[in-house]
């Protein structure tokens, strides 16, 4: 595949190398984040004992993976198409931000408040943003589909199941 990194020099398994580096970074992060916790003793373990012990083990796994990646051949690092993951994540986040409004805290005490769109606003918004994730999206088709899906969700989650999810605070007040 185009854009795959096959490695070079001493590196025989780039994917394992990346995985190992990730694990070590995660372990260091956890050790740092848990550094203020009291590990206690074996007789009376404190809150910090296990996070620290597990983090060390995670780090050891990372080291083992890196060592292995220099010795044995393994898969390359695949090309990462950013479009799919980015728009899917953005769609989900937009749903979370607008379903009942959300105050995003900004530095300096100010906050940015998003509007509360409710199910019939956030749903279509999320679907349309997610539509960008796929090159195969046909917009007219997606628009019709969105209308159908929103109606279906309304009937299922609000009418049939009566879940406390906001419907359209700007229109009907709940």
């Amino acid at each position: 595949m185009q854009g795959n990194w096959q490695g070079g020099g001493h590196i025989k398994a780039p994917q394992d190398l990346a995985a190992g580096v990730f694990l070590i970074a995660l372990a260091l992060f956890a050790l740092w984040a848990g550094s203020n916790l009291n590990p206690g003793t074996m007789r009376a373990m404190g809150p910090g004992m296990l996070p620290r012990a597990i983090a060390v083990l995670v780090g050891l796994c990372g080291i083992a993976l890196i060592v292995g990646s220099l010795k044995w051949d393994g898969p390359p690092i695949e090309r990462i198409p950013w479009r799919g993951p980015f728009f899917i994540a953005l769609g989900i986040v937009s749903f979370g931000l607008t379903i009942r409004g959300f105050r995003i805290p900004l530095p300096g005490g100010i906050g940015l408040t998003t509007p509360a769109l409710g199910l019939i606003g956030s749903g279509p918004l999320a679907i349309f943003i997610a539509g960008f994730a796929s090159p195969e999206t046909r917009w007219r088709e997606l628009a019709i589909f969105t209308a159908v899906m929103t109606t279906f969700c309304f009937l299922l989650f609000k009418v049939a199941l009566n879940l406390p999810i906001p419907l359209a605070p700007w229109l009907v007040g709940y």
């Binding site: 995985a19 074996m42 597990i54 796994c61 690092i77 989900i92 009942r100 539509g131 997606l142 199941l161």
Partner: protein
């Protein structure tokens, strides 16, 4: 024996109320409906449909969930047979011969034998659960913290050995899961751990959030990468009832598959995963003419499908009797039970026998319903399979969003799920399997609790784990497993099993 029958009678009296039957039916129906969608496995299905159960009382909700689970399983088989897309690891086996049968115009027979085999397996497994439930719960009451800890270690070792790909990476994923489970308030001291003072995760990362992220959303991101290439069987599905010859050839494989699947399903650490693979291998070995396998042999559908369903059902045993979820789906069940205020474990059976036995009975009813609803509805499923992915993924996404939001009515959790989706996608790119992570995450809290308790009891002496006979035996099994798995010969075989 009278106990056994009495318990079953109690169960059926609970399960045969109109309400329960209805919930079970709805569960099976929507479970199949979502499970049929290509690329949506049972875990994503259950997480997505979890909010549907919120309205009902615990008994009804759990029965509905069980229905959803069986529906999702069967829906996965349908997709495997008709489209050659396995919804989860175990369905891979079904694609081998099931899809070939479909191509030869015997799709109906393949679907039929899968349903019939699953039903027979389900019946046997239900009886097994009823028979083993009481003695195992009794055993569980003898378990101290040390035994529980060792049992979970053994479960995790199983999960590692059974994971696909590199053992080292599976171990790493379990450890990352354990690490994630320590996030949140410490149970004993109340100290905030690794939360950075963030209110949202001071109770820990929600299981559904994690599962939906690394399984549901990450899966969508992955699927978008590959251009749509779906090979839905065209033309006639054919009669759903297998003919006499096919029946004759299927009986023995169903019996063997049921037995293999039931036994493997009881093992902690996702033994159920191995059932279909083992059954397929056995059938191929026993066949007079092994060359027909992979070309549409009905034995290759009947055996593994029975094993799959038997295992899916007996994997409830460790959950209901010991309170230990053996795989990611059962872990999700724990999450669901906790939402309804039930802590799974040996006390469920004594404290709320109607819940326990009602659920066991409804398992059987669920299987029966699958048989009844799927045979006439298969035409509908075929139509559903033709929905293109470009429409399916927004639908999946929005259902998941609503599902996650509904668990705690918390929008932050929705966003956290998006984050875990990206993390899961990254894991996939680095060659990590997410299932061991989820298992580690769920067992993490239980393990820590029991480890700390055991250490207090033994005054900090680690030897307590090998001095207590039960605990020592469990650890010995774990150790033997590791040694076997690390032997080069075994390692090769493991590759073969998973690539076949």
């Amino acid at each position: 024996m009278t106990d056994f029958l009495g318990n079953l009678a109690l169960g059926f009296s609970v399960a045969f109320s109109f309400n329960t039957l209805f919930l079970c039916l709805i569960g099976c129906l929507v479970g199949t409906l979502v499970g049929v969608l290509p690329g949506v496995g049972p875990i994503a299905t259950i997480a997505m449909l979890l909010p549907l159960t919120f309205k009902f009382d615990p008994v009804g909700a759990l029965i509905m969930l069980a229905g959803i689970y069986y529906g999702a399983q069967y829906g996965g088989s349908t997709t495997a047979i008709l489209v050659n897309i396995p919804g989860e690891a175990t369905a891979v086996v079904t694609t081998l011969d099931g899809h070939q049968m479909a191509r030869k115009g015997r799709a109906g027979a393949a679907l039929g034998i899968a349903a019939i085999g699953s039903f027979i397996a389900g019946t046997f497994a239900t009886l097994l659960i009823a028979a083993l439930g009481a003695p195992l719960s009794g055993l569980a009451l003898k378990f101290g913290p040390a035994e529980y800890f060792s049992l979970m270690v053994m479960g995790l070792v199983f999960a590692t050995v059974l994971a696909r790909g590199s053992i080292l990476k599976a171990v790493a994923m379990i450890l990352v899961g354990l690490l994630l489970s320590t996030v949140g308030q410490d149970l004993e001291t109340g100290a905030e751990r690794l939360t950075f003072g963030w209110q949202e995760i001071s109770d820990g990362v929600d299981f559904a959030v994690l599962a939906m992220g690394v399984f549901g959303f990450a899966e969508v991101m992955r699927n978008l990468e590959n251009p749509e290439a779906r090979d839905v069987v065209r033309g006639a599905i054919g009669s759903l009832l297998p003919n006499r010859e096919e029946f004759r050839r299927s009986i023995a494989p169903i019996a063997r598959g049921t037995l293999i699947g039931s036994i493997l399903g009881i093992l902690p650490g996702n033994g159920a995963l191995l059932g279909p693979f083992a059954s397929y291998t056995v059938e191929k070995k026993l066949a007079k003419d092994p060359s027909i396998f992979g070309k549409g042999a009905i034995e290759g559908v009947a055996g593994p499908e029975s094993a799959n369903n038997a295992g899916a059902q007996t994997s409830f045993i460790p959950l209901l009797t010991l309170g230990i979820p053996p795989n990611a789906v059962m872990a999700l069940m724990v999450g669901a039970m906790t939402i309804h205020g039930i802590i799974p474990g040996p006390q469920v059976m004594t404290k709320s026998p109607n819940l326990f036995w009602g659920m066991v009975a409804s398992m059987w009813i669920g299987n029966l319903m699958l048989l009844i609803i799927n045979l006439p509805l298969v035409g509908l499923w075929v139509k559903l399979l033709k929905v293109p992915y470009r429409l399916m993924f927004p639908a999946i996404m929005i259902f998941c969003c609503i599902g996650i939001y509904s668990i705690n009515n918390n929008p932050v959790e929705v966003m956290l799920t998006a984050f875990f989706g990206l993390v899961g996608y990254g894991f996939y790119k680095m060659g990590f399997e997410p299932a061991p992570l989820l298992l580690g995450f769920v067992l993490g809290k239980l393990m820590e609790e029991n480890l700390r308790r055991a250490m207090i009891i033994s005054r900090g002496d680690m030897l307590t784990f090998v001095e207590r006979p039960l605990s020592a035996a469990l650890l010995a099994v774990a150790a033997i497993l590791i040694i076997i798995a690390l032997m080069p010969a075994m390692n090769k075989k493991r590759d073969v099993v998973f690539t076949e």
